[in-house]
Amino acid sequence: MAAPVSVQVEFGGGAELLFDGVKKHQVTLPGQEEPWDIRNLLIWIKKNLLKERPELFIQGDSVRPGILVLINDADWELQGELDYQLQDQDSILFISTLHGG
């Protein structure tokens, strides 16, 4: 049983194009049986926030290669990537590195 969690989801580097141009989203994830980790967050984002072209953001059960994920301004690789358990008031940032130069 996971309690509802309130997190800030942010998009940068061009990823916001897939979300109607909105960069910051303050979301409250509802309580559910499975714990809220990044993997489930991605599923939730795909269902509720992603407006178009899911294949440009998500590949399989992870993000598309080329999209960086920062959890509280730190690399998600240091936190266990998809298995990191979300905590209240966390800030998750998705930066697309595939744009510009």
């Binding site: 940068g12 061009g14 290669p65 080329g66 690399d75 240091l78 595939l98 744009h99 510009g100």
Partner: protein, 511 residues
């Protein structure tokens, strides 16, 4: 963990964790090491920074700014300027969106105290043909000249310190003043510079239409991207020449260059990889293109920009939201990135391979001065069109076979009656025009002859020559005219041989 005390915030490569401060030191050091190792930027030289608004070029400008403002011993020593090219027309942006983007760009450019030039891509229609003519650079002994230049510069600074120690502040302030004053002068010239090159911030609608006609006539996204890169390079080169910049810094990162290397192999540019992906690109002769960011992965750049607040503006590009198989560039990008996700040493391996590529001149040519250059990409023509075993030779044969079938069309003048008087300039279609009929009727055939292999392959996707900017068409005509004239007078030219070098009249004197 490098420093054992800070909190790790990021992992680079296979397992190096960095804390924030260590990462900053590492990042800044890499930039200066890249410039210092290559020793190509001389003190006091004018360097143009190409800014697209994206993260890599923004980071590059930020590093240059930081580097110029340090204490004098370790300070970067060149004089920068920035160029931004507005490509909104080919990326499907409306004039209002373009104006808005330019305003955002200007806001950032004004916080950086370098002179800047905002140019729209439509300016390619005003370029002169000199852009396509490489200027040969005299030979330079690099090592000694660089060291001498740096020593001379330091000496000059010290002399100035000694000359006026009583003028307020400390000696350090005075030597700083030198560069700062120069920058300030350039900044005040800025509005003039902008007017000279760009005119108003928005181009004339006729030119925008012409540009969009050109790009929409190209059939594939691959060819469109290549064309865009070519035009962009020409425009940057022209601005650099006009404004007196001798070096241009491009913001290509390690990731991008690895992708570019593989893409160029697929496009048939294998012979020019050293120029396309190396640190320095001297194909234009007088203006050298540098890539100081080539050691940074996109991940490092994105993290640095986020952590240290480097401003960048997102603008849609020509391939935004394009599906994966839309062009060779996109396909290669997704291939490399996906491979990198599973094998984290992919990009660094490709990068290290590209470092080993050497620019070798062709056999027997002295500094490439005599070789013909491709009309569009200005690399040495790697052609041996008589050898049918190569892809190149096969292309040439295929085209000749097509030409043989239609019957030749008679020239404009009726047979027997001259259509011009002696002494007038020969026009295509004139009765005196003795070129083979294929070349006469089709400027396209002679245009293609002047391109390298990959540019020719790209031209397959461009059905019409007319939408091209005038400087390209004019230069093509000029070159084919010159080649034909040379052929015509070939038999009358004296051939150089050993005896004739001694006896210019061609015969040995009788005594």
């Amino acid at each position: 963990m490098k420093c054992k005390e800070g909190l790790p915030v990021l992992i680079i490569r296979a397992g190096d964790a960095f804390c924030k401060d260590c990462f900053k030191a590492y990042y800044v050091h890499k930039f200066r090491a890249m410039l210092g190792k290559n020793r190509l930027v001389f003190p006091g030289e004018k360097v143009l920074l190409a800014w697209s608004g994206g993260p890599s070029s923004s980071s590059m400008i930020w590093q240059v700014q930081e580097g110029l403002s340090r204490e004098s011993a370790k300070r970067l020593r060149f004089v920068p300027g920035i160029i931004y090219i507005d490509e909104g027309a080919v990326c499907g942006q409306s004039p209002e969106e373009r104006a808005k983007t330019v305003v955002e760009m200007k806001l950032i450019l004004q916080t950086i105290a370098f002179p800047y030039h905002i140019v729209s891509l439509e300016e390619v229609f005003n370029l002169p043909t000199s852009v396509l003519q490489p200027v040969s650079q005299g030979p330079r002994g690099f090592e000694n000249t660089y060291k001498e230049a740096v020593d001379g510069f330091i000496q000059q600074q010290q002399q100035q310190q000694q000359r006026a120690p009583e003028e307020g502040g400390g000696e350090a302030v005075l030597s700083d003043e030198q560069i700062q004053e120069k920058l300030r002068q350039l900044s005040t010239q800025d509005p003039v510079g902008q007017e000279e090159v760009a005119g108003d911030s928005l181009p004339r609608p006729a030119q925008t239409t012409a540009l969009m006609t050109l790009f929409s006539s190209v059939k594939t996204l691959t060819a469109r991207e290549e064309l865009l890169q070519t035009l962009r390079a020409h425009l940057i080169l022209h601005v650099a020449r006009v404004q007196g910049y001798t070096k241009v810094m491009l913001g290509d990162s390690c990731t991008r260059l690895a992708i570019k290397l593989m893409t160029n192999l697929a496009l048939g540019r294998g012979a020019f990889l050293a120029w396309d992906t190396g640190f320095s690109d001297d194909r234009h002769g007088d203006v050298v293109m540098l890539r100081p960011m080539r050691d940074y992965t996109l991940k490092e750049i994105a993290f640095y920009n986020r952590m240290f607040g480097v401003p960048s503006v997102f603008t849609p590009a020509i391939d935004t939201k394009a599906p994966e198989k839309a062009s060779i560039h996109r396909l290669m990008e997704s291939f490399i990135l996906r491979l990198q996700a599973q094998f984290p040493s992919t990009i660094s391996t490709v990068y290290r391979t590209s470092e080993k590529l050497v620019k070798a001149p062709r056999n027997g040519d002295a500094a490439g001065a005599a070789t013909a250059r491709c009309l569009l990409c200005m690399c040495a023509l790697d052609i041996d069109s008589t050898d049918s075993a190569t892809a190149f030779g096969a292309q040439t044969l295929e085209r000749l076979a097509q030409k043989l079938s239609p019957a030749p069309v008679l020239p404009t003048g009726a047979p027997g009656r001259p259509c011009c008087t002696k002494g007038t300039r020969l026009q295509p279609g004139c009765c005196r025009d003795t070129r083979p009929s294929s070349e006469r009727e089709e400027p396209r055939a002679s245009f293609i002859e002047q391109l390298c292999y990959s540019c020719r392959v790209n031209m397959k996707d461009v059905p019409f020559l007319e939408p091209f900017p005038p400087y390209i068409l004019m230069e093509s005509q000029c070159r084919s005219q010159r080649a034909w004239e040379k052929q015509e007078v070939q038999e009358f030219l004296f051939e150089e041989s050993e005896e004739e070098a001694l006896h210019p009249l061609g015969f040995s004197p009788q005594f």
